[in-house]
């Protein structure tokens, strides 16, 4: 559908004229809601007027090679389409016009097509026509499976939920869980993990009683080693985050932030701790990062901001609600997928427990050609 031949086939001129030659016409074949998309036409030969026929939700944003602001052009409606009229005198140079538009509407379907037509007129007669489609795409989620009820048997149970991805474009997913008790969502940012690990270790203290070396026996055995250069890059990244995004470190107090700043300060020859130990922690964070990539991108088309969601509860829980918040790459937000799960506490005693949400992501890849065919049949 979106390949060369298909674009040509869909967009070829529907009638011809000897005087006018349409060299090229293009409309962005797809876009997300609110995303600015281009449209242009290049032709040779004389014309008196061009008329753009735009389907209802299309809004023009900007135009190039026009003598007037795009919003001041003559417009009228016909059969739910908007007709935008550009007279020859309004083209600054002949043979070219470039427009930008957007569709500020979120649809319920994964792909919705809007037609754009261009008519070239001489003496009030159409001598050449062209039409093309622009499709508004969106990602979608569907609930496939979940336990009903979920029987809680241990203090650390895993709650499996199966969610399917359908539609088009990247689904940016944020998982939230709510229920009775104290809910904790854990986001595994690699630098924050690193900062936490470093502060917990007491590495900054000269003779820390908490400090434990990574045991030589398994270190030799494991051969875990990341190149020094990569470790130094990570330290640079930490420095950058510390100086440019202090908000990311809101969990740490001023003293801790000062300590982190001192630890990552460059060129301190007389530091009281061994810099190689810092790199050990960075190595840990790097290994985490491999796993993060795998966990955060569970299936085709889905990116999960917080893959390891846990619920910590004091006491008993009768119901948990898991929400999958969905956004596209243009930051359009869609209705969340909400899963309400009744919980049966089958443990012998109550008290603190922890449930990890384990989402099994399944991707149902859609064939854009099939969707296009359906749309065209409807039209």
């Amino acid at each position: 559908m979106f390949g060369d031949s298909e674009i040509d086939e869909n967009n070829r001129p529907t009638s011809g004229s000897e005087q006018l030659e349409l060299t090229e016409a293009f409309v962005a074949p797809w876009g997300l809601p609110h995303e600015v998309r281009p449209l242009h036409a290049i032709w040779s030969g004389d014309i008196d007027q061009i008329q753009f026929k735009l389907a209802g939700p299309i809004e023009l944003v900007e135009g190039y090679n026009l003598a007037r602001d795009i919003k001041e052009l003559d417009q009228h409606t016909a059969d739910e389409d908007r007709i935008v009229v550009i007279d020859r005198s309004e083209l600054v140079t002949p043979g070219y016009v470039s427009l930008k538009f957007k569709i500020p509407k979120k649809f319920d379907e994964s792909m919705v097509g809007q037609e754009i037509g261009i008519d070239f007129l001489v003496n009030d007669e159409v001598v050449e026509s062209w039409s093309g489609y622009t499709f508004t795409i969106r990602p979608m989620l569907e609930l496939l499976e979940y336990p009903d009820p979920f029987v809680l048997e241990n203090r650390n149970d895993v709650l499996p939920i199966s969610v399917g991805y359908i539609g088009f474009g990247m689904a940016e997913v944020q998982i939230e869980i709510s229920g009775e008790g104290q809910i904790i969502t854990k986001d595994k940012d690699v630098f924050i993990d690193m900062a936490r690990a470093i502060l917990e270790s007491g590495i900054h203290k000269k003779e820390s009683e908490h400090m434990e070396d990574i045991p030589e026996e398994w270190k030799n055995d494991s051969n875990v080693k990341v190149e020094r250069e990569v470790l130094e890059d990570m330290a640079d990244g930490m420095r950058e985050l510390l100086t440019e995004n202090r908000d990311a470190f809101e969990e740490f107090d001023e003293d801790e932030l000062h300590l982190l700043a001192d630890i990552f300060e460059e060129g301190q020859e007389n530091r009281e701790w061994d810099i190689s130990k810092i790199y050990d922690f960075i190595e840990l964070a790097l290994i985490n990062s491999i796993l993060d990539v795998v966990e955060k991108n569970p299936t085709e088309g889905v990116h999960v901001a917080n893959p390891n969601v846990e619920i910590d509860v004091e006491g008993r829980l009768t119901e948990a609600q898991v929400e999958y918040h969905l956004r596209d790459k243009y930051e359009n937000e869609y209705d969340p997928l909400v899963v309400t799960i009744p919980i049966e506490d089958a443990r012998d005693s109550g008290g603190h427990f922890n449930i990890e949400i384990d989402t099994d992501w399944k991707s149902h890849e859609m064939d854009p050609n099939e969707v296009l065919q359906e749309i065209l049949e409807e039209i």
């Binding site: 559908m1 979106f2 390949g3 060369d4 090229e24 293009f26 962005a28 074949p29 797809w30 876009g31 997300l32 600015v36 281009p38 242009h40 290049i42 190039y64 090679n65 140079t93 070219y96 470039s98 930008k100 795409i137 088009f168 474009g169 990247m170 690699v190 690990a197 270790s201 908490h210 434990e212 990574i214 045991p215 398994w218 494991s222 051969n223 875990v224 990341v226 990569v230 890059d233 990570m234 990244g237 922690f281 840990l284 790097l286 290994i287 990062s289 491999i290 796993l291 990539v293 795998v294 991108n297 299936t299 085709e300 088309g301 990116h303 790459k329 243009y330 890849e365 064939d367 854009p368």
Partner: protein
């Protein structure tokens, strides 16, 4: 996606042209052509001057300050004979001494201007590309489009105008290829190693022992150490390995392919540079970037199979 927000103003360019013309004001400068190189941020300007064999030729010199960024490139007489001896360069100026010129009246001069600010291009060229891709038959596609914002002003200034290497970079997501391709028992080994490092860093001796045992079990399924595995995985995302799976429609060309790992061992995206040329004949261009995702994933699967 709007990469560059163009305005209808090309004031910066006009000022630059006016300034250059001013240096040649005594010799009726006529701007013939300009060829911008978007990517390399320079321009090649060709202008015609008339130097009558009169007193004016004997008393005037053209002095272009070096700090303006112009570099003399070539000069020809109307008979297309090279004329270069009349140009000299001092610490502060490029100097044209007309007394050194042969008897011809009209001359063509080519000058190069370097370090053109990106903003100047924003006024000339608009670049758009799709924020997100659509996957069709295993191939992920992104559309790209570029257009000249105000061809009239440019046509008024130049007989010939060209912008070469109109350039943009598209980030193609490769993370799910790795997610799909890396064998589960390999990620499990990494997971166990993380567990062990955590326990060790926190000084939890009991947990270290357990984690060590679990990791040892997981490792049985791997042929190599995590270090070697990480090296291998990273090597699969080099530009050389990824670019084989990328194609671009004419009139666009593929430039550099740069994996961006954002401090992570596995790359999340690959930057693909896309170039084309525009001129007063071809005022706009459109095409698409295609990433054969399924084939790349298959390639990763074949290679990461060696890990176990």
């Amino acid at each position: 996606m709007t990469d560059v927000s163009g305005t209808a103003s090309v004031q910066g360019i006009i000022q630059g042209i006016d300034l250059l013309a001013e240096y040649f004001r005594d010799y009726s400068p006529d701007m013939k052509s300009v060829k911008y190189d978007y990517r390399n941020q320079n321009s090649e300007m060709t202008l015609k001057i008339s130097v009558p064999n009169s007193l004016r030729r004997k008393i005037n010199k053209v002095k272009i300050p070096i700090e303006e960024g112009y570099i003399f490139d070539e000069m020809y007489s109307s008979a297309l004979n090279p004329v270069e001896k009349c140009w000299s360069r001092t610490e502060d100026f490029w100097i044209l001494d007309p007394t050194q010129l042969p008897s011809s009246e009209d001359y063509i001069i080519k000058l190069i201007k370097t370090d053109i600010e990106t903003d100047a291009f924003n006024d000339i060229i608009d670049l758009e590309y799709s924020e997100d891709s659509v996957k069709d038959e295993g191939i992920e596609q992104y559309w790209v489009q570029t257009s000249i914002i105000n061809p009239k002003i440019l046509a008024d200034i130049y007989e010939e105008f060209e912008v070469r290497n109109v350039y943009l970079s598209i980030n193609v997501g490769v993370q799910t290829c790795f997610t799909t391709a890396i064998p589960k028992d390999v990620t499990k080994t990494f997971d166990r190693t993380r567990e062990l490092l955590r326990a060790s860093n926190k000084g939890q001796r009991g947990k270290v022992t357990t984690a060590h045992r679990r990791r040892h079990q997981a490792q049985q399924s791997m042929k190599m150490s995590e270090h070697e595995a990480a090296q291998l995985i990273r090597s699969l995302a080099t530009a050389e390995n990824v670019e084989k799976f990328i194609s671009i429609d004419s009139p666009f060309r593929c430039g550099d392919v740069t994996p961006t790992s954002n401090d992570r061992i596995l790359p999340e995206e690959v930057g693909v540079d896309v170039n084309t040329d525009l001129d007063l004949e071809r005022k706009a261009a459109a095409g698409s970037v295609k990433f054969n995702k399924d084939e790349y994933t298959e390639y990763l699967e074949e290679r990461t199979d060696d890990l176990r």
